[in-house]
Structure formats: structure tokens, C-alpha cells
């Protein structure tokens, strides 16, 4: 499986929280190679591999941060709200796609420096100040766009040095790619339990998708794959992993310690580069909801290190995605914690 190709296709999809359909459609194309797929009442894309006995649940979220149209001004500009925690500091003079009746292009507004009051350039814009210029008058704009329509920041996938890439929506489309890679590398290795995959919706607005997907799933342990912070010059090393340093294995009071330990020892044994991510309570990922869903889950968390989260220029290393997939596959083939 070509990880880059999968990521390219997945990041090209919209799929903001609650409107994940187009991403679901694309993901289904990849996922259906490994089992039966369906979507549930919250739009989660679920896949169950063949296998009599219940095995493990793998989760990655399919939604990405974006904007949502709240109203149209008399001049044909759009007022917006955040749909997920998009970094508002990146939202001036940005090319966007408005997913209206059809896809249209737009530009977020900004007041040019020649006209700004002194000091204004240092103030982060409020979301209420962000308008989308549609290049249309009210009549045309209101035919093309309705309140509730979603907006995504346009970002082309860039190749950086050393196998790194930059794009929007790598959170968490690269986690999905890691799971697909794991499924692919399990082919022909004789794993005979059922694997349930949930590409879950609405993580960026609280994780209700994963809560429901895990309730429905036939499994008692779960590994979620998400992204976490990679070290940048301005961050504290204790808050971050290292880009290219391998999957970040989560340790947290809300995670299952045995799972964390097993992931760590397998990574060591199989010579998969890894790093540890220690959190003081909950994890801020889907494992928070999955852990207490239904009869409860024993949860592990693997994160792909990522820089500049929730911007249009998130940066990851493709090696980290591959190693995350490898570690996941080793964990599964070695029976997880329940079937070891």
C-alpha cells in the first residue's frame, strides 16, 4: 500500500465535523478491501474483517477542522463560525472552498496594512471578524450558499525535505492511513479474529462519533490512532514528541497500562522506532469517550507526531505513519492484551 497516495486522496476530501460524507466515500474505497463496510447513525464508517471471535477495535477520526457558514451579508460575504478548533490566526486572506450547493471558491478577508491602525497587526482576528469573500452579490451568493454549509481552507499537499509532507487535514487522515497500512500488512499473516475499524466522525467537536461507534462494536479493547504534537523550536520538549522519531505510545491514567507496556515492548522487540507520550489524565482524543462507552473498553493510544496542528500546513513524516501501521499490526498479530 502506498501511504502517500492514500493520504493524498484522503486529505483532498472535505469532511468537516458532521459533514464527513465525501471523506467517508473515499475512505470506503480503501477500507472495503479488508472487510464489510457500513455507516452507522452518526455517519461513522465501520469495517468488520472476517473472523468468528471478537478481536480489537481500531479507531481514527475522519473529520477535519473547518468553518461553518452562519449568515450571508447584504453584500454577499459570508459570516462564519469555527467547526472544530481551527487555528484562527491563519484565517485572514486565505483561499477557501465553500461546500455549498456546489463547490465554490472564496477568499477570507483582511484589512491591508496600509489601512490598519497601529498595533492592529498584532491582534489575532476574532472569528466574528472573519468574512468570506465569494465574489458574488447577495442574490447570487444566497443561491449558491446556505447557512450550515461548510468551508475548508485550500491547501495543496507539499513535499518537504526528508520524506516529510505538509497539508491540511493530516489530523487525522494520516491516522486513517496508518490503520489501512496495518490492515494491509496483516494480510496473509493468519490473524483469524475479527477486527473492527471505526473511522469516526465529529472528533473535533467532542468525539460523539467514536462514542457511538465503540458502543456498537464487537470488541473489548481498542487502539485509537490520532496525531500529537511534534517538537517545534518554540515548544517545550516535555510537551512534545519528535517528528520522525516514530509512533508516540500513549501513557495516561485513562489508558490501559498493560496495552501501553505491550506496545512499547513490541516496538523494542521488532525494532520499530517509538517514543512515549505521557499524559496526566484523559488524552483529548477519542479514547476518552471509547474507554467509557457501553461496557467500557481497555484503550491504547498511538499518535503520529505532527507539527502546527489545526492549520493548513500540518507537517508529518511519512516514516512515522508507516511505523505506526507496523506497530499496530504487530500488536494485533500478537493478540493484543485480551487474546495474547
Amino acid at each position: 500500500m502506498d501511504i502517500l497516495e492514500v493520504i493524498e486522496e484522503l486529505t483532498a476530501c472535505s469532511g468537516t465535523p458532521g459533514a464527513e460524507n465525501d471523506a467517508v466515500k473515499t475512505a470506503e474505497k480503501f477500507l472495503s478491501a479488508y472487510g464489510k463496510t457500513h455507516t452507522d447513525s452518526l455517519g461513522n464508517l465501520i469495517c468488520e474483517t472476517a473472523g468468528e471471535r471478537s478481536g480489537i477495535l481500531l479507531d481514527a477520526h475522519i473529520d477535519r477542522v473547518g468553518l461553518i457558514v452562519t449568515s450571508i451579508t447584504p453584500e454577499g460575504f459570508l459570516h462564519v463560525a469555527k467547526c472544530g478548533g481551527i487555528d484562527g490566526r491563519t484565517l485572514l486572506a486565505q483561499q477557501v472552498t465553500v461546500h455549498g450547493r456546489k463547490k465554490i471558491k472564496g477568499v477570507t478577508v483582511s484589512v491591508p496594512p496600509h489601512l490598519q491602525r497601529r498595533g492592529a497587526e498584532r491582534t489575532a482576528p476574532e472569528i466574528d471578524d472573519i468574512l468570506v469573500d465569494t465574489g458574488m452579490d447577495y442574490e447570487s451568493a444566497s443561491k449558491a450558499v446556505s447557512p450550515g454549509d461548510r468551508i475548508t481552507v485550500d491547501a495543496e499537499l507539499l513535499h518537504l525535505a526528508g520524506g516529510k509532507i505538509a497539508c491540511a487535514a493530516l489530523d487525522d487522515r494520516c491516522g486513517m492511513a496508518a490503520i489501512l497500512y496495518a490492515l494491509d500488512s496483516l494480510k496473509g499473516r493468519g490473524y483469524d479474529r475479527k477486527i473492527t475499524v471505526a473511522f469516526s466522525t465529529r472528533e473535533e467537536v467532542g468525539g460523539s462519533g467514536a462514542r457511538v461507534a465503540s458502543y456498537n462494536a464487537d470488541a473489548e479493547e481498542c487502539i485509537a490512532v490520532d496525531v500529537s504534537f511534534a517538537k517545534t523550536p518554540d515548544s517545550r520538549p516535555e510537551d512534545c514528541g519528535v517528528l520522525g522519531g516514530g509512533p508516540m505510545i500513549g501513557y495516561a491514567p485513562s489508558l490501559d497500562r498493560e496495552i501501553s507496556e505491550k506496545l512499547k515492548s513490541l516496538a523494542g522487540e521488532k525494532r520499530i522506532p517509538y517514543q512515549l507520550e505521557i499524559m496526566g489524565g484523559r488524552t483529548g482524543t477519542n479514547t476518552d469517550g471509547i474507554g467509557i462507552s457501553g461496557r467500557g473498553y481497555r484503550c491504547g493510544l498511538i499518535s503520529v507526531p505532527l507539527r502546527y496542528m489545526h492549520t493548513g500546513v500540518e507537517v508529518i513524516s511519512l516514516n512515522d505513519v508507516e511505523n505506526t501501521g507496523r506497530l499496530l499490526a504487530e500488536y494485533i498479530i500478537n493478540g493484543g492484551v485480551l487474546n495474547a
Partner: protein, 336 residues
Amino acid sequence: MHKELCLLNGTSGRENEVRDYIIRRLPSDCLYSVDSLGNVIAEKKGSRRPKNKIMLSAHMDEVGFIITYITDEGFLKFAPVGGIDERVVFGRSVTVGERKVSGVIASKAVHHLTAEEMNRAPGFDEMYIDIGADGKKQAEHYVSVGDSAYFNSQYIEYGEGFVKAKALDDRMGCDILLDILSSYSEYDYTACFVTQEEIGTRGATVAAYNVEPDYAVVIEGTTANDISGTPDGKKVCSLGGGAVISYMDAGTVYDFELYKRAVKTAEDSGIKWQTKTAVAGGNDAAAIHKSRSGVKTVAVSVPTRYIHSPSCVAKLEDIQSVKQLAVKLIEELADD
């Protein structure tokens, strides 16, 4: 054609890509020279000799960045070239250096901000370009200090006759001059494609000295703030409102009689025009009008939203109005 021009990269002092393109596109009946500041001075031979020497001028450079330092970790520190709002910089992708490598302009992730940092945009001193290099040595393999960096920005047409790109200021002007050179040959005139406007109208200073015109017409992109919620008096000018004729900006107090003649020329020719309702911004007129013993100068501009950002927006019909008015002004000023 303005699409190709906008996609070329050229900050102040690094206009070579743009200059080469323009020279290739000059019609064969133009004699041109490149002066010591890199200005392209194209002499168009018309069918008639005007009484007055007329200079048209547009600038080739765009706002961008220059790499000032490479950190041990391999991140690039940079400074703006020209006036760029810090708030349109963070989170954008760029093309860096002679080898044209991709990078992203970055700073601390939103999740790691303190409450105070949350309320402000990261300053240039807090941002850096990430090209994915692992350490200084690898970064230096791709980029050298002193290299330029440019916003990546697609050229798109959108909405009802709008265009969005980087560098519309002033590649639209360059495009208009190239268009005029290929289509208008009634009188002789000189078209100048000048350098270093964004760092203080330096190319035009030298071009005007070398050309020694009687009249100059500066073709620019000027700042429009006609966005929803802005009171009419603060909009400066509007897209779709036609060519912008200036009476005063932060760089020039224009010859008032000439301003009025330009307005009358537009009116008489049925060309859509407007003026700026704010004294702000500036252009090469600031340098040209005080060249040698003085040059009567008029500025005709395309109203442009979000100027000096990666996403400048203009309306195609305004570009046409500016072009038409520029031609009419040659005729108006040739023989007065």
C-alpha cells in the same frame, strides 16, 4: 497572461524571472534596454511623434520574504521584503530559494498558546519556515541565507468576474503595459517595468531619470477595503467601480489639474472610474514626479482587496478600465 505573471516569483531586487518573461513578451517593434537597477525600459515607436514624452510605469516586484538565519535545528528565520501584515503570514506555504523547495511558515501550535498569546498574531520574530530539514546542515543543502521566499498561491478566477492570486500588485500593471505595447501604436511612448517599488520606489527613481519624460502614467494596484461591515467612507475604493484615479496618497500629492484632466478623459471616453476616499498607500508616482526638474504624474490603479497578502483579489472588468484609460491618457497628453 496575468496568470503567468502572478505565478512568477520576484521580490524587490530579485525581479529577474519577471523581467525575463516581460522581455520575451515585448512585441518585436519595441526597442528595450535594461538599466543599472534592472528596470526594463521599452520604447514603442508609434506612427506619430508626440510633442510630450510620455512614460508609462508598472513595477515588477512583489512583497515576499528574505531568509536571514538558519537555526541549528534547521528552521529558517526570515524578514519581510515590503509591507506585509504579520497576520497573513502564519500557516501559509512558501517556495524558498534558488532550488525552489517547499516550506511552511510556522509558529507555536494553537494548543500550546498561553492566554495572552491566544489574543495576538505571532510576530515575524516568532515565526520560522519549516522546510522539513533535520538540522542546519541539511537545511543549508537546500537554502542559503539571503535567499528569497514567496507565498504559494494559486491563480483562481471565482465568483462573478473576480480573480485571486499573489502579486496582483503590480503584475496586473505589467500585464496592462504589455497589452498596450502590443495593441497601441498611434504615438511614441515609453513603457517602464520597474524594480524595487515595495522597498521605497527605488527602481522608478532611476527609470524616470533615465527616461526623462514630460508626463508619467503610473499603473498600479491600489488598496480596496470594500468588504461587508466597512462604512462607505472607509472603503477607499471598490471592486467593479472602475479605474482608480488618485488625487493624493501617502507618497504623492498629485498635480490637481492633471488629476482633473484624467477624470475628464475617463468621463469623455465612457470609462468607469473612481477615486480613493482615503489618503493611504503610495506608489512609484512618489519617485517619478520629483525626478530631474519634475514630471507631471498621474496614477491609475486597479482596485485590489487584501493587497500584500497571498490572496489579492481584483475584478477583471476593472483591469480593462485601467487599460483603456491608460491608452486614452497617452492620446490626451501627447500633444497638449
